[in-house]
């Protein structure tokens, strides 16, 4: 059977580092192909290239044996490739029928006529969705049906699903699997990104595992089992060179600084309980959607917990409830964000001014004037102590590399002399050289007796840094490990359902 889609040497390079490198991949007609890998393994980048959202740096895409160049998603759709994203791309205020024909309306639209043709089309797919219902009122599974129906209406021959089951209930999941079978029967090929290994084993025909942007293995699903997939996902070589050997000694727990009990935030954090101790690094590992970031954003006042049955947060034994970050900062909590561009630094300002803003944010009201000398001294001190490499202390943030920006953001928080420091993905988008230096900074803080939290979805990072390892899954911490007897496989087992 000739493949409907073939990728040859597909490569995408962002800012000189390869997100996806030399991928050779085939998709057969009517095949369900699962794409697995850790966060950041390159699954999303790969599928976005297939769907025309990003264009490849190198390599060719062959569709039905012919080479194609997709510049926009709409070109991909008209070629017959549709992508169903995690957050649905439907318009919530419109009806199902309107959404189905969105972008393909006739000049004069007859509401009744649209509804009837939508109804007929839905029935032909045996989807039980009312075409006159508003999309906002539909459940996640029905929304997905509408998305799929739209893809089918546009005569898609390949449908890419990005984490389709992440938001579904077990009942809805079963329904989704039936849909996939329907699609398959109609000769549509499906690419299916998932974190849930069982699902992949259950519904796919073939499995491809990506790791660090490279394709590790492609094989028929029957040749895989859970253990084999996990091993393919984590067994990396590059990381060992970079991260050295396994931890043999851990710092003992000091005073209990933070206790979180039965925390709830919407349906993201569900009855989460954990404690953080001084003088050690607590690593929090979990996949996207495990509620780890949200938990610590509540602790630092960035977001609020639920009003009723929201649980409790104790700082040094005292119950606290922060509505904004300012009082949390005053009480010695620093949250260093995973998205520094959006909520980390001030791009029009210099490094020293960013650090100084951190100092002034915590200073009392008596501080009225800006003192240039104080700003210069602080800037020099932190640039030296965190090894920020910039031409001058007056260099603007926007001109720095990712690693140096991250160091400046860390400096902006450390200048506030916090007692509890929360690093959320501290080395995301950071160059390799700076990773080791940032790890050094984190270790130094723990040695100084601070309570340090490192949230990371990168296994080698948490394994190397942590003195204590917590694994979060679906809104709460489910397991605790000592890094001495933890293995990457064990952590991954705990983190996936």
């Amino acid at each position: 059977m000739n493949p409907i889609l073939e990728l040859r040497g597909l490569t995408k390079i962002y800012a000189r580092s390869a997100a996806v490198e030399d991928i050779d991949f085939t998709l057969l007609p009517g095949e369900v192909h699962a794409l697995l890998g850790e966060n950041g393994a390159g699954k999303s980048t790969l599928t976005k290239m297939i769907a025309g959202v990003v264009s490849p740096t190198r390599g060719t895409i062959l569709f039905d044996g012919k080479e194609i160049h997709l510049r926009t998603p709409s070109e991909a759709v008209s070629a017959g490739i549709a992508m169903v994203f995690q957050e649905t791309s439907l318009v919530p205020s419109m009806t199902v029928a309107q959404n189905l024909f969105l972008g393909n309306e006739k000049f004069f639209n007859r509401v009744h006529g649209t509804n009837i043709s939508a109804q007929q089309f839905m029935q032909s797919l045996s989807f039980d969705v009312d075409p006159t219902a508003h999309v906002a009122n539909l459940g996640a599974a029905k929304k997905q049906m509408v998305e799929i129906a739209r893809a089918m209406l546009l005569k898609a021959r390949i449908i890419v699903f990005d984490e389709p089951t992440a938001t579904l209930t077990p009942e809805e999941k079963r329904h989704f699997f039936e849909l996939v079978v329907t699609l398959k029967a109609r000769g549509v090929s499906v690419i299916f990104i998932s974190h849930a290994l069982e699902e992949a084993l259950q519904i796919s025909d073939r499995i491809t595992v990506l790791r660090d942007g490279k394709l590790v293995v492609t094989d028929a699903t029957s040749n895989f089992d859970r253990a084999k997939i996990v091993q393919a996902m984590v067994g990396r070589t590059l990381s060992h060179e970079l991260y050295g050997t396994k931890k043999t000694r851990v710092r003992p727990a000091g005073r209990r600084i933070l206790r979180v009990s039965n925390l709830r935030v919407g349906n993201v954090v569900k009855n989460n309980s954990l404690s953080i101790f001084a003088g050690q690094i607590t690593g929090i590992f979990g996949l996207v959607g495990s509620g780890r970031t949200e938990t610590f954003k509540v602790v630092s006042g960035v977001i609020k917990r639920d009003y009723t049955n929201g649980g409790e947060v104790f700082l040094n034994g005292k119950a606290v409830r922060y509505r904004v970050p300012a009082p949390a900062v005053r009480d010695g909590i620093a949250y260093i964000t995973e998205d520094r561009k959006v909520e980390g630094f001030f791009e029009t300002m210099s490094i020293k001014l960013n650090v100084y803003v951190g100092r002034l944010a915590k200073a009392g009201l008596h501080k009225f004037w800006i003192r240039n000398r104080e700003m210069d001294t602080l800037g020099d001190k932190w640039i030296k102590s965190l090894q920020v490499r910039a031409v001058t202390r007056a260099a603007r943030m926007i001109e720095l590399s990712g690693g140096n920006q991250q160091k400046a953001v860390i400096a902006k928080s450390l200048v506030q002399d916090p007692e509890l420091i929360i690093f959320d993905e501290p080395t995301r988008g950071v160059d390799v050289g700076a990773i080791a230096e940032i790890h050094q900074i984190i270790n130094r803080l723990a040695d100084e007796g601070k309570a340090v939290v490192v949230i990371s979805s990168y296994l080698p990072e948490v394994m190397l840094l942590s003195d204590r390892l917590l694994v979060a899954r679906q809104g709460k911490v489910v397991e605790e490990f000592s890094p001495i007897d933890a293995t990457e496989e064990k952590l991954m087992y705990a983190a996936v359902h």
Binding site: K341, V342, E343, F346, V357
Partner: protein
């Protein structure tokens, strides 16, 4: 200290000003005389003072369309209270209290109720002007009472040939410059305008600071109102119905204070004010009709906004956060 991106536009506007100024000087007889230059500056002094208040809000990534109402009504209140026989201190206090109330209302709605500043200040401006015109004052025009003559100099007369209104503008510029560049609160304004989320996570009390921005702009508008009413011996509250507020935005944007926030400063307001003053003065000497002048100003504002969006492009994040 914070210059940077707005710098390019500063140079462009500076050069534009130099070219237009030289052109008018050569082509228009009577333009380059001491008398005309003082006239030029006097006509834009009040506009410049308003621009300083607008600058604070725009740097903090907001906009204040209620400034003309805050210029007319609180200063009208001051005049009316003084006319009713209360002393200088009491009447000034009444005006300041009114201005602060407007600022708090604006700031509260923007920061706590999270209504976009464009709509908040538009509505508050209309409301305040309505209150003034329908309830507070007997006539639309509030005369300057003799009891306030002791401070009438801020709008009248001249020191060493320089009109006091121009000196008032200069003094306000110095105060605002010191506030923005040398005080912690000024740095807060820049931080909020640059990246509101980062300022919040760093531990700033962001929302009270936004309220303060609007209080400051209302108080500066009151000051502009006092200068204006002293120079014309009355406060014509119908001024709200004119298109003045667009001139204020023109001054700020033309000077190079990006509407995306966090950029520019007092120097940009001075440049914008001088440029507008020169264009308007030249057009008046050329006897261009008022309507035509509006058309030209509109075109200049459009060009300035276009330039702003090219030089300070809004990325996705600022487009989501900024409401203007």
């Amino acid at each position: 200290m914070l210059g940077g991106v707005a710098f390019d536009q500063q140079i462009i506007v500076g050069m534009l000003f130099a070219i237009i100024f030289t052109g008018f000087s050569l082509a228009l007889p009577g333009f380059l005389t001491i008398g005309n230059l003082f006239t030029l500056m006097r006509t834009v002094a009040v506009l410049g003072i308003l621009g300083l208040g607008m600058a604070i809000v725009v740097i903090g990534r907001g906009i204040d369309l209620s400034m003309i109402a805050a210029l007319a009504v609180p200063s009208g209140v001051t005049l009316a209270v003084a006319a009713a026989g209360y002393g200088l201190i009491a009447s000034l206090a009444a005006g300041i209290a009114f201005a602060i109330a407007i600022g708090i209302l604006n700031g509260f709605l923007v920061a706590y109720a999270e209504i976009p500043p464009l709509f908040t200040t538009l509505a508050v401006g209309i409301g305040v002007a309505g209150v003034g015109q329908s309830g507070l004052f007997e006539y639309d025009i509030v005369p300057w009472p003799p009891s306030l003559n002791s401070i009438a100099w801020i709008g009248r007369g001249a020191l060493l040939g320089i009109p006091y209104s121009v000196l008032a503008f200069a003094a306000a510029a110095v105060v605002v410059a010191i506030f923005l560049r040398r005080t912690r609160l000024g740095l807060f304004v820049y931080s909020i305008g640059d990246n509101l989320n980062a300022a919040r996570i760093a531990g700033f009390a962001v929302r009270p600071m936004v309220v303060l921005q609007y209080i400051l702009s209302a108080c500066i508008a009151l000051f502009a109102g006092l200068v204006l009413s002293a120079s014309s011996s009355n406060m014509d509250t119908r001024i709200f119905n004119l298109t003045w507020i667009y001139d204020v935005i023109l001054v700020v944007v033309l000077g190079g204070i990006g509407l995306s926030g966090g950029r520019g400063g007092v120097l940009n307001v001075l440049l914008g004010t001088l440029l507008i003053g020169t264009i308007v003065n030249g057009m008046t000497i050329l006897d261009i009709s008022f309507e035509m002048q509006n058309f030209i100003k509109g075109m200049v504002l459009l060009a300035a906004l276009l330039l702003d969006s090219i030089i300070n492009p809004r990325n996705e994040e600022t487009a989501q956060q900024g409401d203007i």
